[in-house]
Symmetry: C2
Subunit: 234 residues, 2 copies
């Protein structure tokens, strides 16, 4: 029991056992912590952080407990060190090497985003079939012909693939990534990719968010039960 608790609080490895929803919230907390940091705040309570991040205070407590964040009773958490801890856990100090497959609009936009640049991943090469794109760097990343994907990805030892190709091209692109030994694929195609079990695919389903927003329960008529829903959608 005590053993387990201790390992949980130590290295990155043991921490991997965090629940998925909790992991997804870490960037949110980090974001809020940076806001506090910019405002000169040194210490925050779960309540304050929860309000800033837009989640419930109970969830923050539970997540931090699981994370092993060192808080002081009656005081709260040290903003700077907690932010540092999250960065470490998420690997921002030691990003994974990644390749971008599909250097079109979405792919290039992703490379430019603050919450992706210089965080978990470092994009070391991009690939596309469009001859107009090949040979010209996109946001500082060289674009190669898709035919060279396996060769170049192997030589650069990239372990992550960002898949931003049209649906029709996704299965082929995924199998090339797999052939290049890529174990983690961040896919922006809604279609299911058939990959070996040592490969993890994270599907980012943009149309699901839109469906939820438009077909989900409207907050205009919350009179159904007691207590309003949270203001901001999760």
């Amino acid at each position: 029991m005590i053993e387990e608790r201790l390992t949980l609080r130590r290295g990155r490895r043991a921490l991997k056992s965090m629940a998925r929803p909790a992991i997804r919230r870490l960037p949110l907390y980090h974001n809020a912590l940076q806001q506090f940091s910019r405002a000169g705040v040194k210490t925050v309570s779960t309540t304050a952080l929860a309000a800033a991040a837009g989640v419930s205070a109970a969830v923050v407590k539970r997540d931090f407990s699981e994370f092993g964040a060192p808080g002081k009773s009656g005081v709260g958490y040290a903003v700077a060190s907690l932010a540092r801890g999250i960065e470490h856990f998420l690997g921002w100090h030691n990003p994974s090497r990644a390749v971008l497959v599909g250097a079109g609009g979405l792919g290039s936009a992703l490379l430019g985003r603050e919450d992706i640049r210089g965080r978990n991943i470092e994009v070391v090469a991009a690939f596309d079939v469009d001859p107009d794109l090949v040979g010209t760097p996109v946001r500082g990343v060289m674009v190669y012909d898709a035919g060279r994907l396996v060769e170049i990805t192997l030589s650069l030892r990239a372990g992550v693939g960002i898949l931003t190709v049209p649906d029709a091209a996704a299965p082929e692109a995924a199998s090339l990534l797999v052939a290049a030994g890529v174990a983690k694929i961040w896919s922006f195609s809604a279609i299911r990719l058939d990959v070996p079990e040592w490969v993890t695919v994270k599907r980012e389903m943009l149309s699901a968010g839109l469906a939820e927003l438009l077909a989900g329960p409207a907050p205009t008529e919350p009179a159904g039960k007691k207590g309003n829903r949270q203001r901001c959608g999760a």
Copy 2:
């Protein structure tokens, strides 16, 4: 009891009570159905559809039960009519008018995506602060100066806002949308937006997906318990 069941199966309004996760899966099913349709398949079982969509068969059954999809025992579901039903439920035949706030890389990429073009929403105007973008259409949508957001959004009667501005500009942009009467905001900024309770915000947290992919449990060592996890991440 019977009453409730009946209304559930009727108009779009009553169907709104579907669970969020189920709603998010509908585009997935639609996608798989189209693949079957293209292959000339007229009828599918929950098992086949589940495999194609990359979810469990039990979930498909449950979702369809809730959705009120008309299946035939021993046969399955009619591919074409089920796809039509999902389209209707998600409002693809009668899309909401939307404005795009932030006509940069991500905004323009979203407008170009197949799973957004001509589905739930119809983008009727775009806004940006960059003078280079203002005046030039992006993917067929005119870009106006951000200063005219409220005026133009009101006159076009748009009810949905797509927020693809940098984090720093997001709160201001959101309050302009609210001032223009926009009740549904699809935000690609991770920061919490403070909006009145009649406004729904759907935060699309891209960095959460990346965190999950990289810090989540690796599938390489599934020996922990019995039965492997699903191959493809949700």
